[in-house]
């Protein structure tokens, strides 16, 4: 007659998980001047909004960790947020087995599998938090970039008007519409 043994397995794991989410989108920059010059004007406008320029790239990292990168050559913006966390999980499993060696191995495999699932759940939870944080900020970022593009367009039009003749008057109404009077 075989005897039944109660075995207990305890496993714990500590992992550093890194999650990231982000979106990329083209900026609606009108081709008023050559692309290089348009990129230059956009870069100048972004610098005034806290972006740091490095060649054809303008980047800003906000206090909440959101990184906004604008490729001035291709007029593409990328908004990203990453997060890192140390995730610790512990598990205790018990079972009654006939063969201690085989039973313990099976129980340990089961424990590791459950720990992996828990870590995956925690990682997914962290990813959702990151996504939520990013999503809440996107509308504001879009509004800010739209304003920057609007100012860039005005700057480009002014420069173009200067090429055409001498500017007599630049008037901006409350709605943000700009009228440039040029003497050709």
């Amino acid at each position: 007659m075989s005897r039944a043994y109660q075995i207990r397995v305890s496993e714990s794991v500590v992992r550093t998980v890194h999650v990231e989410d982000g979106v990329a989108s083209p900026l609606d920059l009108l081709p008023i001047l050559p692309p290089d010059r348009m990129g230059d004007l956009l870069g100048h406008e972004l610098e005034q909004r806290g972006f740091a320029r490095d060649g054809h790239t303008a980047t800003r990292t906000d206090l909440d960790g959101i990184v906004i990168t604008v490729d001035l050559a291709t007029a593409m913006v990328t908004v990203k947020l990453g997060a890192k966390a140390d995730v610790a999980e512990t598990i205790d499993l018990t079972a009654r087995v006939g063969n201690v060696q085989a039973g313990e191995a099976a129980l340990r495999d089961d424990a590791i599998r459950q720990l992996d699932d828990r870590i995956a759940d925690r990682t997914e939870q962290l990813r959702r938090e990151v996504t939520k944080k990013l999503e809440d900020k996107l509308a504001d970022i879009r509004r800010e970039l739209d304003e920057a593009i609007g100012r860039t367009t005005v700057a480009a039009l002014t420069e173009r008007a200067n090429q055409l003749g001498s500017i007599q008057e630049i008037a901006e109404d409350e709605a943000g519409n700009v009228t440039i009077r040029v003497k050709v």
């Binding site: 979106v23 989108s25 959702r128 996504t131 999503e135 996107l138 879009r142």
Partner: protein
């Protein structure tokens, strides 16, 4: 023969009026019925044939072969009927002249050849128990397909709509190798692993087939476009967009190379009513549990038909710049006229739709568009 003997012989004929009809095995009868149903779905209902299954013998007799051949010989009229037999215009392969009239007036008789692959398809359709679990289906291996085979496959995919057979057939390697299946049913196909070769559909019989099916293609692509407004699964949209983008991009490129941009006019016809009613293919708010990058990719993927229209917009600019003394003036004028339904405002609106689909934060006006009446 005496008069009595002749009378007896006549009576014998009267007694068995079916004596002169061709005789085939019951399994062969199903193959013939399936072939007839694919060519004339209005007269034969395919669905009941798909629910059952029948063991098929390895070979068929010459009588059955002849009858299947006879059924498939009606494929051209069947295709023309699908295009409503309406007068239209075709560009010649050199892109210089425009032929006008009904399909059979614009083109010389061109044989539509069916190979053994069509027989394999028919056998698979008859033998597969579509009412059973999908795991029990036999694989339909990839074959070298003639244009006729591709037509048979297209008709089978169309006739099996609303049954499990359609998705099962689209998932077969047999369908994966058919350019016409991609063009007509990209929404059913898994994302392609490589470029789809559309050369067979831009010249000869293949081009005539595409012309004939153009109204049907436009209607189907439009219907799929409307389904995007209800899809909330990012993965599904991404997969759908990948299949559609690969299909339209490769097909338009093939048409351009063959000087047959007219073959891609179904894109214009598909999207024109949507533009007129301001029905952007913007999906509803996608599953918020999914990552933002996946949702963003899904929204972008939804714009596949718009991207094809924007290529048409570029083509239209080229057609406008074609002067009377330039080569291809007549073709350019024809295509200008056909694109007029979109025009510059329609092209701009489509570009705005696409810009919104790719925006950081989509605007409310497009994410909550009016539903079709």
């Amino acid at each position: 023969m005496t008069d009595d003997a002749a009378d007896i012989a006549d009576l014998a004929d009267l007694a068995d009026p079916l004596a002169d009809l061709p005789k085939v095995a019951h399994s062969e009868r199903n193959l013939i019925a399936m072939a007839r149903a694919l060519v004339a779905p209005a007269r034969e209902d395919v669905a009941p044939m798909l629910w059952g299954s029948r063991d098929m013998p390895k070979l068929i007799g010459p009588t059955a072969e002849q009858l299947i051949h006879d059924a498939l010989s009606h494929a051209w009229p069947a295709l023309w009927r699908r295009g409503h037999c309406a007068p239209d215009a075709s560009l010649s392969g050199d892109g210089e002249t425009v032929r006008r009239g009904r399909a059979w007036e614009r083109h010389r008789p061109t044989p539509l050849t069916f190979s053994n692959a069509t027989l394999l398809l028919l056998r698979w359709l008859v033998a597969t128990p579509f009412s059973a679990s999908r795991t029990s289906y036999q694989h339909l291996r990839a074959q070298t397909l003639t244009v006729g085979d591709e037509v048979a496959l297209y008709l089978a995919l169309d006739a099996s709509a609303g049954t499990p057979a359609q998705a099962a057939l689209a998932a077969q390697p047999f369908a994966y190798g058919s350019a016409l299946a991609w063009l007509g049913f990209a929404h059913l196909m898994p994302p392609p692993t490589g470029p789809v070769d559309f050369r067979t559909l831009t010249a000869g019989a293949g081009a005539i087939v595409v012309e004939s099916l153009a109204p049907e293609l436009a209607a189907r692509w439009r219907a799929v476009e409307l389904t995007k407004r209800k899809l909330i699964g990012a993965d599904k949209l991404i997969a759908l967009g990948a299949s559609q983008d690969a299909t339209l991009d490769a097909f338009q490129a093939a048409c351009d190379r063959a000087h047959r941009r007219d073959l891609a006019l179904f894109v214009v016809d598909a999207i024109a009513p949507l533009l007129a009613r301001d029905l952007a293919p913007a999906p509803p708010p996608l599953d918020s549990q999914v990552s933002l990058s996946a949702r963003s990719a899904a929204r972008l993927a939804a714009g596949s038909l718009i991207r094809a229209l924007l290529r048409w917009r570029d083509w239209d600019a080229q057609h406008r710049a074609t002067r009377f003394v330039d080569d291809g003036y007549a073709a350019a004028q024809h295509l200008l006229g056909r694109y007029e339904v979109i025009g510059i405002p329609g092209g701009d609106r489509a570009a705005a739709w696409l810009a919104d689909l790719s925006a950081l934060a989509p605007s409310a006006t497009v994410t909550n568009p009016r539903e079709p009446a």
